[in-house]
């Protein structure tokens, strides 16, 4: 490989590696997904730096120019990552569906309770109490538990 191309590849792989680490540090990226990217960046880094290995691989599979072998390997990694993300998106879609169903069932139950007038606490603050942990955190307030706590209304 041309020295300039080699240096560029090394620099690119190193930048990807560092950017991924920084993203994990800032919590933009979970460790689970970072590991894949770090692995890919590391393999590309090794191939770019160790030209002997790259030319061995390329001659073994019959690719004339080692830099093309580099592209093929990088492309294979991208395909695998995309496939993985498709699987993750599928799982997320399933989880969203389950959440939507649970929410709809819960709303239906609330309405049924409301109609029957059973221990339903028609409190102005009710919606606030369903805040997600993250929302409660962002607002920086802490609610003291009380008799209208949703967990206490929960039926067996």
């Amino acid at each position: 490989m041309h020295l300039g191309a080699q240096l560029a590849s090394i620099a690119f792989a190193a930048v990807v590696f560092l950017v991924v680490l920084e993203m994990v540090r800032r919590r933009y990226l979970r460790e689970r997904y970072a590991i894949l990217w770090l692995g890919a960046a590391l393999v590309l880094l090794v191939l770019a730096a160790w030209t002997q290995l790259l030319s061995t691989i390329s001659s073994a599979v019959g690719i004339a120019t080692p830099s093309n072998a580099f592209f093929v390997i990088a492309f294979a990694f991208l395909l695998l990552l995309l496939l993985h993300f498709s699987a993750v998106v599928s799982r997320l879609a399933d989880e969203t569906r389950v959440l939507a169903q649970r929410l709809a069932l819960l709303e239906e139950r609330e309405r049924a309770d409301h109609r029957s007038g059973a221990d339903y606490n028609d409190d102005e603050t009710e919606n606030e109490e369903y805040a997600l942990p993250g929302e409660r955190l962002a607002a920086g307030r802490r609610r003291q538990p009380g008799p209208s706590d949703p967990a206490l209304i929960r039926r067996r």
Binding site: R25, A34, V98, Q144, P145
Partner: protein, 255 residues
């Protein structure tokens, strides 16, 4: 209304497909740690874990799908925080933790008021007969060594989930708890937030039934994930999300 004194101890039992053992865990908690309220977190089990636990009268929170041990236990932290519990214990639903030993964890906690978390360690007692595969013990000792260096305090069993948390620790982990394989990273978070941890010797049973979440194929992922989490955790400005930091879940934050 809640009488805070009477309801100050909570045992959280995370259980994922533990129908064979969760009822025994609840019953032995009631028998040997009767001062604890018990809440079972059914982590999206596909067997009848929740029904088994309810059958022996336990409160059960059923998560709509499997969140993993971190998400399940954090549900317990949020529950403990919202209900004003003073202390929360984690007792795994597979029966490997002995509820009778909660008392020794609690008495260590009350012996030293500066402590925020007391952790049951398999490796402190000389007659320990913990027989895990050598590879797993090596991994545990590696993390124990690293954390001991970071904390400047001897840590022997950072992967143990058998822990008692006080209110400060509950508040910390209700806000931010690692997602998968959380125990080791949680020790680092305690340290970064200047919360104090102590270990006491405990015996752990072999699993009653069910399967460990850590199969052989996953242990490589375990080691890499936890190592990365420790490395990155050390570089973080705040190890946990502090009030005023960007929200941990946000749609507007772009890269």
């Amino acid at each position: 209304m809640m009488a805070s004194r009477a309801r100050s101890l909570l045992a959280v039992v995370p259980a994922y497909n533990e129908a064979g053992s969760v009822a025994d865990v609840v019953l032995s908690l009631r028998e040997r740690a009767p001062t604890f309220d018990v809440i079972v977190i059914d982590d999206g089990s596909t067997d009848d874990t929740a029904q088994q636990a309810r059958a022996v009268g336990a409160e059960v929170i059923s998560l709509p799908f499997n969140l993993g041990i971190g998400g399940a236990v954090q549900t317990g932290f949020v529950y403990a925080l919202e209900h004003g519990y003073d202390y929360m214990a984690q007792v795994d639903g597979d029966g490997q933790h002995e509820p009778a030993e909660l008392q020794s964890l609690l008495s260590e906690m009350s012996r030293d008021p500066a402590l925020d978390v007391v952790c049951g360690s398999r490796f402190l007692s000389p007659e320990s007969c913990y027989t895990a595969p050598i590879s797993r013990r090596t991994g545990i000792h590696l993390f124990a060594f690293t954390l001991s260096k970071i904390l400047g305090q001897r840590i022997t069993d950072p992967t143990s989930g058998f822990r008692v948390y006080n209110r400060r620790a509950i508040r910390l982990f209700a806000r931010d708890y690692p997602h998968d394989y959380p125990e080791v990273e949680a020790v680092l978070m305690l340290h970064a937030n200047r919360l104090r941890l102590a270990e006491v010797p405990v015996q752990m049973h072999l699993r009653g039934s069910g399967r460990s979440s850590i199969t052989r194929s996953r242990s490589a992922y375990y080691m890499i994930k936890v190592s990365l989490a420790l490395l990155v955790g050390l570089m973080r400005r705040h190890s946990v999300v502090e009030p005023g930091d960007p929200a941990p879940v946000s749609a507007t934050r772009g890269v």
